[in-house]
């Protein structure tokens, strides 16, 4: 029971990640039209369009004048993460997260961190790739990141069969396992960068209570984006960085109830 409680967000995330793919699959395999399409663009209950705002941005840069449905769909998704979820796409929706979390779990289990040579890669690489993807889309006349996106390859793969795309997913797994801790999701992926930017002011946040903190640093050790937790043990307050994925692992590993989800207060005095 305690184990379940200690993994409540992790289990929720695996549940949402797998259910979303399962719903897409059910629509495609058996015609259960609850959620059709895939993460690029979908249709909820045969009515509500939902589209990937970053893909829409790239396609627009590529010169495509898009239909109203896909623009409405992209606005819905962008608003959802901007107002509520922050970067929750990465931890609650994206199936690549399961792959990279798997790599990270093996890393911890096999104590790779203690022996490997450190490779330093800036976490801002994702913003460079994000920035590069738009002019590249313009020049190539095609959504540039969508041509190589492991997220697209894996999501489509789970629904329609993956074929040689499996090598791309294996590449991401091996990169994260042997190459760089949290390498893909935490450094490279421009979708994470995109949601970090638009989710910067979202209201659903982790809050740290410094009074309760015993400085065990379990939260910092488990966090896939450590740079978002500079306040641990120093002062109470919200995790304000857009790079926090709201995965909730810090909350789960904390034995002192010093971290919890809360609605963000924008007034300083309430923090």
């Amino acid at each position: 029971m305690n184990w379940l409680y200690k993994h409540r967000f992790l289990l929720t995330r695996r549940f949402t990640q797998l259910s979303i793919v399962a719903l897409y699959g059910a629509a495609n395999w058996w015609g259960v039209k609850f959620l059709q399409g895939n993460l690029s663009s979908s249709l909820l209950l045969e009515k509500v369009p939902l589209s990937d705002p970053y893909a829409v941005l790239q396609m627009t840069a590529a010169g495509a004048v898009l239909g109203a449905n896909v623009l409405i769909g992209a606005t819905i998704i962008a608003l959802f993460y901007a107002v509520l979820g922050g970067r929750a796409f990465c931890s609650y929706v994206c199936p690549v997260n399961i792959v990279t979390d798997g790599a990270n779990y093996l890393r911890r289990l096999l104590r790779f961190d203690e022996a490997e040579r450190k490779v330093w890669v800036s976490r801002n690489v994702r913003y460079w790739i994000l920035g590069l993807s738009l002019p590249l889309s313009f020049v190539l006349g095609v959504a540039a990141f969508e041509m190589i996106s492991p997220i697209g390859i894996l999501t489509r793969g789970l629904i329609y069969g993956i074929g040689l795309g499996a090598t791309v997913v294996a590449g991401v797994f091996l990169f994260d396992l042997f190459g760089l801790k949290n390498g893909f999701c935490g450094h490279i992926c421009p979708v994470g960068g995109f949601y970090s930017l638009i989710g910067r002011f979202s209201i659903f946040r982790v809050r740290h209570d410094q009074q309760k903190c015993t400085l065990c640093m379990k939260c910092v050790n488990i966090c896939p984006e450590k740079q978002v937790l500079p306040m641990i043990g120093k002062k109470s307050g919200f995790v304000v960085s857009g790079e926090c994925t709201n995965c909730g692992r810090c909350i789960e590993v904390c034995d002192d109830d010093a971290l919890n989800f809360n609605l963000r207060a924008f007034k300083k005095s309430d923090a």
């Binding site: 495609n28 059709q36 399409g37 801002n124 460079w128 590069l132 006349g141 095609v142 540039a144 074929g163």
Partner: protein, 269 residues
């Protein structure tokens, strides 16, 4: 000269670090664009009915798979890494599953972006736009007359019988078989302007590898251009008066750029 180094200014450090990023980004951009240019080229891909021009299609398709999901025959697939078609975009291979030409074209209306355009496969009937699958231009069938056994004089009309526009998209031409002296050649001919590219003929073809096969319009068809007018066709003949036919209509090839007299005098003869 003093051996003491002057510490770099913050501004200079910032510029150096930015340029480092630019340098790495340049390498990344070159690799990325080289791959993407190669990956988006799908010259042989057959697209769903109502697909816009290939260059626009790859820009406008969001790879959601709603057309694939709507296809009741599993004809359409989203391209995988090994398919040599822009990754994630829908296409079909008629030899495995052709397009069965649904009257209601279920694959077109779900497209959220306009990469599949209903107006390209609709005609106006009594002031209403009605979907008409026969207007689709997924490709055009091409016949290899060396390997098609009907051209050997063997009686086969599998493609003709399979064609949903039998008699207009594929017609049978007959001529005397001089080899036997008492039989006829009954050979299929594709009318490319009518052919929808559904590929039912390619699926039906009896030869080991199909001797009639669908290619994208851009590859399958030539273009006569404005210079040639069918004088016996009243509608086409009317073009004679049009502005664009009054321009210089001389055919220009590397050969024709030289005057005939120059050619005679240049000693090439």
């Amino acid at each position: 000269m003093s051996s003491e180094k002057v510490p770099l200014s913050e501004r200079r450090k910032f510029i150096i670090q930015t340029l480092q990023g630019v340098g790495l980004a340049a390498l990344g951009a070159v690799t990325w664009s080289a791959y993407a240019t190669h990956a988006k080229a799908s010259p042989l891909a057959l697209r769903p009915p109502g697909a816009i021009r290939e260059e626009d299609f790859v820009a406008k398709c969001i790879k959601c798979g709603l057309c694939v999901e709507a296809c009741p025959f599993d004809t359409l697939k989203l391209a995988k890494a090994e398919d040599n078609v822009a990754i994630g975009t829908p296409f079909f291979r008629p030899r495995s599953i052709p397009c069965y030409m649904c009257k209601d074209i279920p694959c077109v209306p779900p497209c959220p972006t306009g990469a599949l355009e209903a107006s390209l496969v609709s005609r106006v009937v009594e002031n209403n736009k009605k979907l008409d699958i026969n207007m689709s231009k997924m490709g055009a069938a091409v016949i290899d007359s060396d390997q098609c056994i009907a051209f050997w004089g063997v009686q086969c009309d599998a493609c003709y019988r399979a064609c949903p526009l039998l008699g207009s998209a594929i017609v049978i031409d007959h001529s005397r078989n001089d080899r036997t002296g008492k039989h006829a050649y009954l050979v299929p001919r594709v009318v490319g302007d009518v052919c929808t590219g559904c590929g039912l003929c390619e699926k039906a073809c009896v030869t080991e590898k199909a001797s009639i096969f669908v290619l994208p319009i851009a590859l399958a068809k030539g273009k006569a251009g404005k210079s040639y007018i069918k004088g016996w066709d009243e509608a086409d003949d009317a073009r004679l008066g049009e502005k664009d036919t009054k321009k210089d209509m001389t055919t220009k090839t590397p050969q024709s750029s030289k005057k005939a007299v120059d050619y005679l005098n240049s000693g090439g003869l």
